[in-house]
Subunit: 481 residues, 2 copies
């Protein structure tokens, strides 16, 4: 977007080429950039500002539920990865290997962590010996590496940033409770802070995490009709506890294995924000995570430049106390150019102020989500801004919720099912017999996968969308990122 | 420290075996642990809590000076590292190499970043084209890997966490100003937040960063008489700009190379905190970065357990509004055991409350730094705690400053010099002729290195401590970590 020549570079029309629109928004809003290393991205300051806000808000929710942060090594010995059979099968094909270090070949190659269950499991076996040591409630903010064949900025990159919670519990019930609690933390974070409505549910056996007993997830619907897995929470049972020998002496003096969970969200959430809220003009950021919530654009005819700038600075000083505000006083760009730029960057509120506004004792607020303009008397400035920030937050959620509702279809007719998927019209709620054969066939024939079995199970009897047998569950299908 | 059997494990006496004391404090206070990967450590929640506070306070200072955070890839193509001759010479021997990924041998091996000048330089050359794009003021919080032969928890580990600032400027003067500004940010952060007095100065040619024009540093004195380089700020000149072609069209329409800086501190700061403030009883944390500032220990005879616990909970609720406070209500440990444990963990204030205190309407505050006990009436609780936290912060600084002053020697007698270094009695301020020969000989003969040439140069004429020629500078020598 920044362009020394001073004209706005256009972004591809969303309606014409969704993928190109997505990339254009990221590059031109300066959220991220391609890197010289295949599949790795650079997160630029504006994009990283969003991630910092996500981290802060999520971290507060983790701490409020009793979790503490720690840091485990980036490298994992090859032998660790191999211990849990499903885990190694799931991850080995996509890991990066360190084979040489300090000018020597390593005796045992090291894996660059794709996820940390194994190395953390090893440490937990050292730290835990009694029921008094439980629960262990630890989270890690870290970079992880999964060598992906096809990559897409934010959604699928060879290196990405995430958080991974890893907990140990005394009983199976406690572990299940924790798994669901963290799923709910994700659900409320996405809806309240990111303004993204989600489906919360359980993954099928085929789609679950490699090494888990059960994987729960939150799924969001992008505006191109595809689903995005936005967060997962795994009940690991005793799978890792057994292979890493994480055991404790229980109250009854018996040696037992702990029950574990793990859960994570990543920088792919930023991709979700772009695709749920973005529009033809570019990004539209929910106020709670917007690095700049209000951009002040002074309208400065040469005669009154100083007067306007002074008032604009006063306005910024007042607003700094209540929100994240910035002044765009650059003189090499016109107000119109700036309007476009800050709309592209998704700033929730634009505040315009010119000589006539000053005379009338007011400013103009313009909402990014609706484009609506409101005159606000100077004396009401703070209240009006706070109200409008809340209103934009709610407005974005309401719009996204409406979109999801309108694009969720209920059918048990496979012909209709195929047409909906083919036309990229969103989610389908349909009965399923519970067999992997049908799940795999549907995917092969339509490209759609089972996104989740909803938490509030639908008890209505039905016939499987694929084979016509009695259904075990009603599930959500969609094409997914 | 946590021990299911309920007795306190002792730490080695500091006066007897300093290195073992250092390790004992780290392991028993649960700051960190060894990992199964050679030279890598695990930062446990209590240690990571210190790092989180360091990050937050430093990040605030970076943002107040106009910097923004971003994130660059973990991997760097081999060819990038090779571009700057001194840089590759300095780092190549200690890097870890990814040679295989996703089941394939990589055509070009990747370096796991030991520092990011090269990859960031590559991106800057894409982003910068006009003087209007300058300055670029970016910082990154990240993990880096340097394959070390001998490692020591926090001080030298194969992987560590740090921040690295990377800036670009229009002029040489601006770059030098930035270099010194960030050095001063480090100096004030260490003195004000970590309560660690420092020497600020310039490194010699021999000790400077591989690829820099000038390296400035802050050096602290540990209580065993050795110096610790706590932070560095580099003026990179145009070295990287030239090899990565980071150029811009200046106001005069000439294409010019940018002037760069980089600067960093790492998790080794935690090692510094331990060695500057720790004592025979364990860790002593400066309140500003202590994860727990006040630990409340209820004294509960069985008869009045509930009453005491209720009052203790009220106290915690009041203090939560003004500081980081925790209640230790575990019933499996005695108050005496808890006193020892929280002293070992370095909590600045212990608050004791028992039936007699409740009757008298007071609590007892005990300072970690001096052991001093103070009765505080309930109604003065908040003020007393805030005052005492400030007082502990100042007290730790004053004690460390006194130690540094008492252990800084001025001499130009090489015999005395050798004795002081041999006896590990601290820093020596001595004249130096400016030649690398003398610098190298002093190191070979005594183990001491030039820690820095102080910012406020001493103009007194002198004779080089080693060769006896006229000195160019008075410099600080010490053995260093």
């Amino acid at each position: 977007m920044e362009n020394s020549q001073g004209f706005v570079q256009h972004i591809t029309a969303k309606s014409e080429n969704y993928s190109q629109w997505y990339i254009d928004v990221i590059l031109r809003a300066e959220l991220a950039d391609y890197s010289p290393v295949r599949g790795c991205m650079v997160i630029r300051p504006y994009g990283f500002g969003i991630w910092e806000n996500i981290k802060e808000l999520l971290d507060r929710r983790f701490k409020a539920t009793g979790h503490k942060n720690a840091y485990f090594p980036l490298f994992i010995p090859e032998s660790f990865l191999a211990k849990e059979a499903e885990h190694v099968e799931g991850f080995a094909p996509e890991v990066a290997w360190v084979t040489r270090a300090g000018n020597e070949e390593l005796a045992e190659p090291l894996v660059v962590r794709p996820t940390s269950e194994t190395i953390i499991g090893h440490m937990y076996s050292k730290w835990i010996s009694s029921w008094r040591d439980l629960p262990v409630l630890i989270n890690q903010w870290a970079n992880v590496v999964r060598w992906e064949k096809t990559t897409r900025l934010f959604l699928r990159t060879s290196e990405f940033l995430w958080q991974e919670g890893h907990t140990c519990h005394r009983t199976q019930e406690e572990a299940e409770e924790e798994t669901l609690k963290m799923l709910d933390v994700y659900r409320s974070f996405l809806t309240e802070d990111l303004a993204i409505p989600v489906l919360a549910g359980k993954k099928t056996e085929r789609e679950k995490f490699a090494g888990a007993i059960t994987t729960y997830c939150v799924e969001a619907l992008m505006t191109d009709g595809r689903a995005l897995q936005a967060g997962t929470s795994h009940n690991l049972g005793q799978n890792f506890a057994k292979v890493f020998d994480i055991s404790f002496l229980d109250k009854d003096n018996q040696l037992k294995y702990v029950w574990q969970t793990s859960w994570g969200v990543s920088t792919r959430l930023i991709g979700g924000i772009i695709m749920v809220h973005g529009d033809e003009r570019g990004l539209a950021l929910p106020p709670r995570i917007a690095p700049i919530q209000v951009i002040v654009v002074p309208i400065m005819p040469p005669s009154s430049e100083e007067t306007v700038l002074n008032v604009a600075r006063d306005v910024v000083e007042r607003l700094e106390k209540i929100c994240r505000v910035e002044l765009d006083s650059r003189d090499e760009y016109s107000p119109g150019w700036k309007f476009n730029e800050w709309e592209l960057k998704g700033v929730p509120i634009r505040l315009e102020i010119g000589p006539r506004d000053i005379k009338a004792g007011k400013v103009v607020l313009v909402r990014r989500d609706t484009g609506e303009k409101t005159d606000v008397p100077m004396e009401n400035l703070e209240d009006a801004v706070i109200d409008m920030l809340n209103s934009v937050q709610e407005g974005l959620y309401a719009r996204a919720k409406r979109f999801m509702d309108e694009n969720t279809h209920v059918t048990n007719d496979y012909g209709k099912f195929k047409a909906i998927i083919e036309e990229e019209r969103g989610l389908i709620f349909a009965p399923w017999c519970g067999s992997q054969e049908c799940e795999v066939s549907v995917k092969a024939e339509t490209g759609a996968t089972i996104r989740c079995i909803p938490m509030n199970a639908c008890s209505k009897p039905g016939k499987c969308i694929h084979c016509g047998d009695d259904s075990t569950d009603w599930v959500y299908f969609a094409k997914a990122y």
